[in-house]
């Protein structure tokens, strides 16, 4: 079978995920202004996609790289398909934008409201705030295009004086708001900055006749390196030619209406951009401004919720609790604040000797960071493994890293060529003269802000083997010790498996066991909830398992290289993607394993980078209650209809009907997680 029949293309698969995000805006269960947010999210996702992924593919072409990807496409073939799909997506965005605009208007929320309604207010706004900071540049042979920053909104104005036509450029200053809001008589009016400027072009160009104007922006190839995780797979292929990369090249031109031929030619020439990368939209550019549409009325938003804790852990000292049993929590339904409180408690506890943790993306004013600093000041041994290469977070990371260092924490920054995605916390306490350890392992970051938006598993335990393996893990991460071949336990089977060493092998072994059982006529069953699957070896292994008769149910939120439900290839495999209010983030795996029902939580997606270029964890959960909890969680994910997209080959579709959305697991969990799990 040729590659494209076996594997989905990574970029197209991602674009189809983004389409599912956009389509949240038509989901009747989503409140009005939340719908706008999904449009905004999809728009910002697309921006990043162009800067990073499209940029990377263009680099391939510049480097002369002509190899095919997993799905059998060359980089230029991929770009062609991406362009077609993105044009399609923008027309969906357009349609939805105008639909939602209309729906808002019915609610007396006016987006891109008519200027005349509030002319006086706008006029003074323009004169007071906007006009003083804009400086048009007239283009000509002596005055070509200035450098246009990435994603900067600009207006090209055609003006005329004495029968001569000029092109003039207004770069909208970043200091200006994108949206101006006026609330009046129970109505809410929103004006975009470009809308206002265009209204007053005649004022700006006094003495000129305004012929036409175009709002546009350029998206540029992000200046990324191999360390940047969304693009490293592309850049590794052309590592040798990286110095030839044309940084900051234009990769996309968006304009708010069709461009006349002469202008198009100018843009081609100046930005060295081809037709397929020009997007003539018929809606406002950069829909992220929809994040700014905000109304003081609960009905336009998801109902608020208070995260809860399981009944038996409330009011109980967590140290005492964990000595008697393990604790599994599911964010955001369960309160992630518990972890912050736990670290805080440890910082103040006389008997705590040390606290160690990984910090990948922490939020500002993080309570956890404050507690760690405090613990160090209290004389505890505090070790923090910080991953600085988290994209776009670098500055923020460095600032709090310094704060921790100044407080006396031992701070290390992981490895040169290996990002640390493992999420682990270890608290060592002396109790009655003996060392007692507490471990928290998670599928998500120690970030109090995203903890309210992402779903993730938190697992706390005092299990001897897990705590010992966590001790070794930290010794490895801190550079104190080289675990031999990364084995965390010497004799028994490890409970924590690490990437890049053995996670892939372990996964293969687990799948192989199901295959073996299926071939013997026993049942084989795999359920995996992950964010992405893009890996040749794993995909092929899953096909092999499917053809051996193993039942495979995958819950893959985003990219998926596997084609399910293909005759002769993957009839035994189902893939679904849940896109809802919260971003699905945990990785939970289930293997029937001859009836022993093995359950794992993991930080690793099933992608080459996670298997081979990250420090990731795969932890087997043997605690009975936690296993039950996680298995039920998987079942409920499979049961979900309302927010689930089912995949066949490379297409996604929904099974629910408009008037009957079906089971919505996120909603159900919000209502009553403690009784469900």
């Amino acid at each position: 079978m040729s590659d494209h029949l076996v594997f989905n293309n990574r970029e197209l698969s991602w674009l189809s995920f983004n389409k599912r995000v956009i389509l949240q805006a038509v989901d009747e269960n989503v409140p009005l202004l939340e719908k706008l947010k999904f449009l905004a999210i999809s728009s910002s996702n697309l921006d990043e996609f162009f800067m990073v992924r499209v940029g990377g593919l263009l680099d391939h072409i510049a480097a002369g790289y002509t190899e095919k990807d997993l799905s059998g496409l060359t980089s230029s073939q991929q770009l062609k398909e991406i362009s077609a799909e993105c044009h399609n997506l923008t027309s969906i965005q357009s349609k939805l934008y105008y639909d939602l605009k209309q729906r808002c208007a019915e609610e007396k929320i006016y987006i891109e409201a008519p200027i005349q309604k509030n002319f006086e207010w706008i006029e003074s706004l323009f004169h007071e705030e906007i006009f003083p900071v804009i400086s048009p540049v007239t283009l000509g042979p002596a005055n070509p295009f200035p450098f246009l920053a990435n994603l900067r909104l600009c207006i090209l104005v055609k003006i005329k004086q004495n029968d001569k036509i000029y092109d003039s450029l207004i770069m909208i200053p970043e200091m200006l708001d994108r949206v101006y809001n006026l609330k009046k008589n129970g109505r809410s009016y929103y004006y975009t900055v470009e809308q206002i400027i265009i209204t007053f072009l005649a004022t700006i160009y006094k003495g000129y006749e305004i012929i036409d104007s175009f709002v546009f922006r350029i998206t540029r190839n992000a200046d990324l390196s191999l360390q940047d995780e969304e693009v490293e797979d592309l850049l590794i292929l052309i590592e040798k030619y990286l110095d030839k990369r044309q940084k900051s090249n234009a990769v996309r031109l968006e304009v708010n209406k069709p461009l006349p031929q002469d202008l198009k030619r100018k843009f081609y020439e100046f930005f060295n951009i081809t037709d397929s990368h020009i997007y003539e939209l018929n809606h406002p550019l950069d829909l992220t401004f929809l994040f700014d549409i905000s109304e003081n009325n609960e009905k336009y938003y998801y109902p608020g919720f208070d995260p809860v804790l399981p009944d038996d852990v409330k009011f109980k000292d967590l140290f005492d609790y964990l000595k008697t049993k393990d604790l599994t929590l599911y964010r955001p339904y369960h309160d992630f604040g518990l972890i912050g409180n736990f670290v805080q408690q440890a910082a103040d506890d006389r008997n705590v000797l040390s606290i160690k943790m990984t910090l990948y993306r922490a939020n500002e004013n993080s309570k956890i960071i404050e507690s760690l600093a405090k613990a160090a000041k209290n004389g505890k041994h505090v070790c923090v493994v910080i991953e600085l290469k988290a994209r776009f977070d670098e500055e923020r990371n460095v600032e709090w890293a310094k704060r921790l260092e100044n407080a006396g924490c031992i701070v290390t920054y992981g490895f040169m060529n290996l990002k640390v995605h493992a999420k682990a916390l270890l608290i060592v306490r002396k109790e009655n003269g003996k060392i007692q350890r507490y471990v928290h392992l998670s599928t998500g970051n120690y970030n109090e802000k995203t903890a309210g938006l992402y779903t993730d598993i938190d697992y706390l335990t005092t299990d001897n083997q897990i705590t010992e393996e966590t001790v070794n893990l930290f010794n490895y991460l801190m550079g104190y010790s080289d675990i031999y071949k990364w084995k965390l336990s010497e004799n028994t089977e490890q409970k924590i498996t690490t990437a890049p060493n053995s996670l892939r092998e372990k996964l293969m072994e687990l799948i192989d066991e199901e295959i073996k059982n299926a071939r013997k006529g026993k049942k084989g069953h795999i359920i995996a909830k992950i964010n992405s699957l893009y890996d040749k070896e794993i995909t092929l292994k899953l096909y092999e398992a499917a053809s051996a008769g193993v039942k495979i149910e995958l819950i893959v939120r985003g990219i998926c290289s596997l084609k399910p439900q293909v005759k002769g290839l993957s009839e035994n495999i189902t893939v679904k993607s849940i896109v809802g209010r919260f971003l699905e983030h945990p990785r939970i795996l289930y293997f029937l394993s001859s009836g022993s029902h093995r359950v794992f939580i993991s930080t690793a997606d099933w992608m080459v980078r996670n298997m081979d270029r990250r420090v990731e964890l795969l932890t087997e959960i043997e605690d009975k209650e936690s296993k039950k909890f996680l298995r039920k969680l998987l079942q409920d994910n499979l049961k979900d209809r309302a927010k689930s997209w089912y995949m066949k080959d490379d297409k996604y579709f929904k099974l629910n009907q408009k008037n009957n959305p079906g089971y919505n697991y996120q909603e159900e969990y919000l209502t009553d997680i403690n009784n469900i799990l």
């Binding site: 000797l353 040390s354 041994h381 031992i410 060592v428 003269g433 003996k434 060392i435 001790v471 070794n472 010794n475 801190m478 550079g479 104190y480 010790s481 080289d482 675990i483 031999y484 071949k485 010497e490 004799n491």
Partner: protein, 505 residues
């Protein structure tokens, strides 16, 4: 140690290791085990010293280890031990001092015998049948990167004990410039020398029925051969050797899926074991998976010790003396009197029971030099005594015994000898105290006829009176006594006098 936390650091030839143990009611629980590869042995075994780069590397690793001291509030509850790669390095004192200044860790070097002793204790603690094997005849091998330690034991007697420079990394370094294809032949020739040594010095080796292996080499063998129980048979060892001996290091690494260091030392490791197994009457190597830091943690916290070690020591000393055809009756008589005098005068000398053991050993060995020649026998006795070694007794103890042996003769005065003068003052004092006692005991059987059956000692205002019980008048003994009792007066400040008590008269 009954309760508490104890740390072990081991600076080995291929890695630095640290173990942190928690003891509660004498039960050990390993809290942490750290390992950082650093091939100090490569420096020492090829250049003779540790390069500055590696001094810094080791210091950095040890600096990290010292963080753990703070974490667990370990303070002085630790032992930091260096083996051959530091022991054999010219700049060992610089290395130790540098580490101390930079990290606060006080490194100590242990000698081969102690290393071997700790390992055999650890393995004995781990292998149930070990004492039984020792009875029936056991070759205990500690093959490490620098040296190989060997112990042959049968019926509680050590037939052979040695630390020889056949460590696997050392062998590799020795032949590092030999063509890869021919290396195995160089190794074989060199290891043949070891085989030859053991066979010739330990005549009874072919009666030995058990072979137990330990040391870092065992980890490698386990990694490669993956034995299901704690033993490996000769034939699979041979098969593996034949399969790999002509392969290059990188081929071995690839085919056996091991790291390049393990791949490099595989051939000498296998061949050393093969040549050892050919020496003894067995086809099986037993081993324990215990690592050295773990064994040390148990040893230095006194949670493992050899039972009746002192008794075994004396038995082995006697056996050793007999090899040199010493006058057994005389030796035993002098030993008996030495012990008696020592025990009766405890309040005078205030020495420890370990010192009594030293005295007894010196008494048993003082005349072994006659085996070489009648003239200057004390010199011969000295070096024969020095050549004795036994796991559990460090070289310093043996050195003290031999020094006492050297100066047991009256006419030879120790203050003129650099071997005495170079000793620290406490050691000098100890030696002089013990020599004074030994000389008297020796005098009491000066004729080698055991005329004096027993002695009694009384302390009174005039000094000490030693009453000799004999059935005949021991003329020579009495004269010798008054020649040899001057040391006693000098060191204890009290005269000792001879009184005869004739039995049956």
């Amino acid at each position: 140690m009954k309760n508490g936390i104890f740390a072990i650091i081991n600076v080995g030839a291929s890695a630095l290791r640290m173990q942190i143990s928690e003891f509660s009611d004498y039960k050990e629980r390993t809290l942490e085990y750290l390992i950082k590869p650093l091939k100090l042995g490569r420096d020492t075994f090829s250049k003779g010293y540790i390069t500055l780069d590696n001094v810094h590397n080791a210091t950095e690793i040890l600096g990290n280890f010292s963080d753990k001291f703070k974490e667990y509030n370990i303070k002085n509850n630790y032992k930091a031990i260096c083996t051959s790669s530091v022991r054999d390095a010219e700049n060992k004192y610089f290395f130790i001092d540098h580490v101390r200044i930079k990290t606060g860790i006080k490194l100590e070097i242990i000698d081969e015998t102690e290393e071997l002793f700790i390992k055999s204790l650890g393995v004995r603690n781990d292998i149930k049948d070990f004492p039984e094997m020792e009875k029936k005849g056991l070759l205990f091998v500690n093959l490490a990167s620098g040296n190989i330690g060997l112990n042959v034991i049968k019926n509680d007697l050590r037939l052979f004990s040695a630390a020889l420079p056949f460590g696997s990394l050392r062998i590799c370094e020795l032949f590092k410039d030999v063509n890869e294809d021919l290396k195995y032949r160089a190794y074989e020739q060199y290891i043949h020398k070891m085989h030859h040594h053991i066979k010739n010095t330990c005549r009874k080796i072919d009666s030995i029925k058990y072979l137990v292996g330990s040391g870092s080499s065992i980890n490698l063998i386990i990694e490669v051969m993956k034995p299901s129980n704690f033993s490996i048979d000769k034939h699979s060892l041979k098969r593996l050797y034949d399969k790999t001996k002509r392969l290059t290091t990188s081929e071995i690494a690839e085919q056996l899926n091991i790291n390049s260091y393990y791949a490099e030392i595989l051939k000498p490791t296998l061949y050393v074991y093969l040549s050892l197994i050919n020496l003894v009457k067995t086809d099986v190597i037993y081993f324990s998976k215990q690592n050295f830091p773990h064994q040390m943690a148990l040893y230095y916290t006194k949670n493992i010790k050899e039972k009746k070690l002192n008794r075994k020591f004396i038995i082995n000393i006697k056996n050793y003396a007999l090899r040199y055809e010493t006058d057994e009756k005389h030796a035993n008589q002098v030993a008996k009197f030495s012990k008696k005098i020592f025990n009766k005068l405890k309040s005078l000398h205030s020495l420890s029971s370990k010192d009594l053991l030293i005295l007894e050993a010196a008494a048993l060995l003082h005349d072994v030099g006659y085996f070489i020649g009648i003239n200057n026998h004390h010199e011969h006795s000295y070096y024969i005594a020095r050549a004795f070694s036994m796991p559990g007794f460090d070289a310093e103890t043996i050195e003290t015994i031999s020094t006492i042996v050297l100066f047991h003769r009256d006419k030879y005065h120790l203050t003129f000898d650099s071997r005495f003068n170079s000793l620290p003052i406490e050691k000098k004092l100890l030696i002089r105290k013990l020599i004074a006692l030994l000389k008297i005991a020796d005098a009491l059987d000066a004729s080698h006829m055991q005329l004096i059956r027993d002695i009694d000692i009384d302390t009174n205002s005039d000094g000490i009176t030693l009453t000799a019980k004999a059935d005949r008048k021991p003329f020579f003994e009495e004269i010798t006594f008054y020649r040899k009792n001057r040391d006693f007066l000098e060191i204890y400040g009290i005269p000792i006098n001879f009184k005869l008590d004739l039995l049956n008269v």
